[in-house]
């Protein structure tokens, strides 16, 4: 069965520091992968997606993610974190053979220290 694991429940970084949020997936075929961000009390906003092609994908707000098939990973990175990046981040894989439903990881809460 497909699954997504985000090993870090909570991460704290200093403003201006670099960030990497980890995501590992289990999926039999070529995965379609996503990162979403949820600010407090808000809905989910799509940061970036990977379908095929270049394994380094650029997203909004200065985020990027790298797909590594050999490691079944799709880690999210940002070179310099801003205080406004504090939010919950979700990695997800879409099950195309299951009606396109998104399967989410548990989420990583990001706190940013001034």
């Amino acid at each position: 069965a497909q699954s997504v694991t985000q090993p870090d429940i909570h991460i704290t970084v200093s403003e201006g520091a670099s960030l990497e949020l980890r995501c590992n997936y289990s999926y039999g075929a070529t995965p379609y992968l996503f990162w979403y961000v949820q600010s407090p009390g808000q809905g989910l906003q799509l940061l970036l997606k990977y379908f095929s092609g270049d394994t380094l994908v650029q997203g909004i707000k200065g985020f990027e993610a790298e797909f590594k098939r050999s490691q079944s990973s799709f880690n999210l990175r940002k070179p310099s974190v801003h205080w406004s990046d504090a939010a919950e981040y979700f990695c997800a894989v879409v099950g195309l053979d299951q009606g396109g439903k998104l399967i989410f990881g548990q989420g990583t809460e990001l706190s940013v220290k001034p």
Partner: protein
Amino acid sequence: DTAVSQTPKYLVTQMGNDKSIKCEQNLGHDTMYWYKQDSKKFLKIMFSYNNKELIINETVPNRFSPKSPDKAHLNLHINSLELGDSAVYFCASSQESLAVTFGSGTRLTVV
């Protein structure tokens, strides 16, 4: 604005009541969804409709009944609400099951 909009944003109700959440998307997408986010922020799909046809029906109690009058609308009706139904419910839509766009959520509190 092009978006997925759902109403109400907040819903507080007593156990045993029946309530509905409405959702509309003006993105021209062919697929709509309901997701539930529990108190631990875990997100799980409940239903999906493609062009008004039910595609996904996860193991959700029969008290939950989605209705899609047209491909731009997907409403969620909940009968006999229970304490455990308290959660945030997200409507969403996509085209050809890719790049799902979410609404801002409805926080349901059952007291």
